[in-house]
Symmetry: C2
Subunit: 315 residues, 2 copies
Amino acid sequence: MALATARGSGFRILVTGASGFIGRACLAPLRREGFQVDAISAHPQPMQEGVSWHCCDLLDAQASVALLEAIRPTHLLHAAWLAKPGAFWTHPDNFRWVTASLELFRAFYRAGGRRAVGVGTCAEYAWVTKPCNERTTPLHPATLYGRCKLAMSLLLEAAAQEAGGSAAWARLFLPYGPGEPAGRLIPAVIEGLLQGHRVACTHGTQKRDFIYINDVAEALVELACSTATGSFNVATGQGTSLHEVITCIANQLRGMENIDFGARPMPAGDPEYVVADTSHITSVTGWHPKHTLEQGIQLTIAATRDRLLAKEATQ
Amino acid sequence: MALATARGSGFRILVTGASGFIGRACLAPLRREGFQVDAISAHPQPMQEGVSWHCCDLLDAQASVALLEAIRPTHLLHAAWLAKPGAFWTHPDNFRWVTASLELFRAFYRAGGRRAVGVGTCAEYAWVTKPCNERTTPLHPATLYGRCKLAMSLLLEAAAQEAGGSAAWARLFLPYGPGEPAGRLIPAVIEGLLQGHRVACTHGTQKRDFIYINDVAEALVELACSTATGSFNVATGQGTSLHEVITCIANQLRGMENIDFGARPMPAGDPEYVVADTSHITSVTGWHPKHTLEQGIQLTIAATRDRLLAKEATQ
């Protein structure tokens, strides 16, 4: 009986942003751990076995407090945030998400919640040229988004402290995979090459810590099951240049001749190096990512191909 | 004409918490710099030359936004916060002050404000055993109050970034002097000895960075006049043990025989060492504290004596 010994057995978890890139990927692994899963989305979702969907605008404090009091989850995975691609770096709605999320976390603990996991970002760190470490890398975010997320992590800790509850904060580096919003680097290159277009890129010297979405989801589930508190990098610990990532995609799609490296300028303010030290989460929870970049890209290409074919079939 | 060259000339500053320990001390030096001074208090205040008082509950967002739009200050010194002595370390109203202060800062910039100074705390740092430095000391507050204040500093920076405005954050270490709320160490020892009581103390080995209130006020005025951004320690850079501070008071009052060192236990969780590195504010603004501990204590004793005599006279 796998479920009888599963760590989520007997617990009820509420997942926010559950129709988004991060939240959606967590639903199946949470079920596998035995959690009863309640999922929040701003818009109606198709039915899904083992998941209770709730429509709720989390920016409406009264609505989210009422929902929490009705559900009374033991666990909360708060993946919802401003979801305007590109605009999120500077958008004033980041402030609304800070205050709404603070209300949500406090209402969760007031309604008997025990363990919350918040979703943060590598942009909470100062841009430095060595792997970001939770204890030693300066927390001096350069962006409005990074500042609001870091403030949120502190407010979550304070809310947990107020209630005698438990909380962890996951600083995601660069998740990619099926469901990643269109327009970001990896989906844009894959779609472009699959459709036979030329793809204009920067020189691609910037190094990033890309992590496959299912590995992110496993890390978030691990943190939900754990009692460890504080902030945790969720990443691979490997720096990969954008050039390497694009080359990996192009090699799998036999499309190198369609890549124009250096055809686009480096975006202003783009840091050269954003890579994690992952020793903390690994030593505390035992979690480690399971997919190599090649495997993750292969799965992402397959999913993108299926999606494009399905789209074609309905046209 | 001192005022014609004064740096605040032509500017209008709104001071919150202006009837409190920190805010009140800033009013006269702001006037001396030539600022037109508007002061907010939750309760009616006696008239004061050169200061326009406004009664406003800052936790009422609509009221504070309306006041800002009516006054349209160029500068804001936000010294108001939860003012429940002792309780502020853990009180849930810290959360209300975070959200209300965020509203206040954003409304300030929306109403044309240019430069805001927020008041933070040494409790934003991890408790470490060397001087706290703004760039290198880990920002891992241990308390609910410290977490909320650090979150606030990030939200102020984000609000300034949103508006293209300017902001600085003053991390106050241990201000003391006339007006310090009763019950804290220095007023308690002074009052006790002045009234001939015995005073029970800990062994007093803990080192702290005590700073005279007028030096704090000068630093805040300096930051208001500056364009420098980020966080700044406001302190002396000198670690003084509580034993030394109490001895300084007792020597001036010839009351050493009434001090019982070691009669009280160390409070649980009380850090051994809370001292600032002040090189940042000094190098950026030229500010440095002017009062030695002996001078500050002498002025505080004199003010306390006057207050007790006045109280006696009215009884």
